[in-house]
Symmetry: C2
Subunit: 150 residues, 2 copies
DNA sequence: CGATACGGTCAGGCGACCTGACCAAAACGG
DNA sequence: CCGTTTTGGTCAGGTCGCCTGACCGTATCG
């Protein structure tokens, strides 16, 4: 009979609740230091380095349109987190380059995320945290045959 | 050393990815049958019965303002999923009552969610699915001392 | 070299929320 | 009891994070 999953939507809705809690923690942590950033701007950094990439590449990584990414990048540029220099290899394109301020933000973001992970590790234990991670990778297909993260 | 969590945000971002995948599956399943429903309307049913409740109670359950809930309920009423009858016990209030069409929707929603859960069970196995559920309950605080779902 | 793809930008729209302002009925406190 | 506060509902308007459509100019490919 296994666990009872109560009302409809509640069960996998917890995925969102957990995410929202984590995200809220990160946002309040960073919100103090970077009040001109909106939540969506953090999405930019959810993938490896952003330095030296085109806006359209960032959009593809984040899974949003280049127009939407354009707005985010423009905002960050206006507030001094990055600049857009012409790409010497392609005169249509402009390369996103983090400023010192932008690198500081990136670092603080990583730190804020580490805080959440530490909190979860404390509450769940190493083993269950790893279990969660591997289950999520399996569900989302973020796993290669060898078991490495993509 | 345990698992490597790669780029910042990626790791708990998977929570959202998993949720979005599940939600998308439910929406495409229901979208065919109920094209006039927007995703947000499903949120109404994510908690026990909606029948016989006030709009403001629904709002509180869903964690949104009564104004926002008002719009959702109005839309559902306009499309015949529910009616709002005066509350005999409180002449300010109106009680939400599901129509036959609304009960049909509720049933289909539960079924669509079951499909997702079955899919996940198939991919993860009973044990890991239960583990995911219990980890999420622990993280979100949706658990009472005795271990029962709230 | 012409057709097509691609990077970037402007304009406009929409969905899912929000706050503020009200009204009328209810509940509460002296 | 009666005035104050709370509460349920509604209207109006705003914000945020996305979207589509339409372009321009450069790159690339047949």
């Amino acid at each position: 009979m296994s666990t009872e999953y109560s009302s409809p939507g509640r069960w996998f809705g917890l995925l969102r609740v957990a995410f929202d809690q984590a995200m809220a923690a990160v946002e309040t942590e960073l919100g103090r230091r970077y009040p001109e950033l909106r939540p969506a701007h953090l999405q930019l950094f959810r993938f490896g380095g952003i330095d030296g990439l085109h806006t359209s590449e960032l959009a593809a990584h984040a899974g949003i349109t280049k127009q939407s990414m354009h707005e985010l990048v423009t905002h960050l540029e206006r507030h001094g987190y990055l600049t857009r220099a012409p790409d010497p290899a392609d005169s249509r394109a402009r390369l996103v380059r983090l400023t010192a301020k932008g690198r500081r933000l990136e670092k603080d973001l990583v730190r804020a995320i580490d805080v959440v992970r530490d909190d979860w590790r404390e509450r769940l234990g190493e083993e269950r945290l790893d279990a969660l991670w591997s289950i999520l990778q399996e569900l989302t297909g973020e796993v290669t045959p060898g078991g490495r993260t993509r």
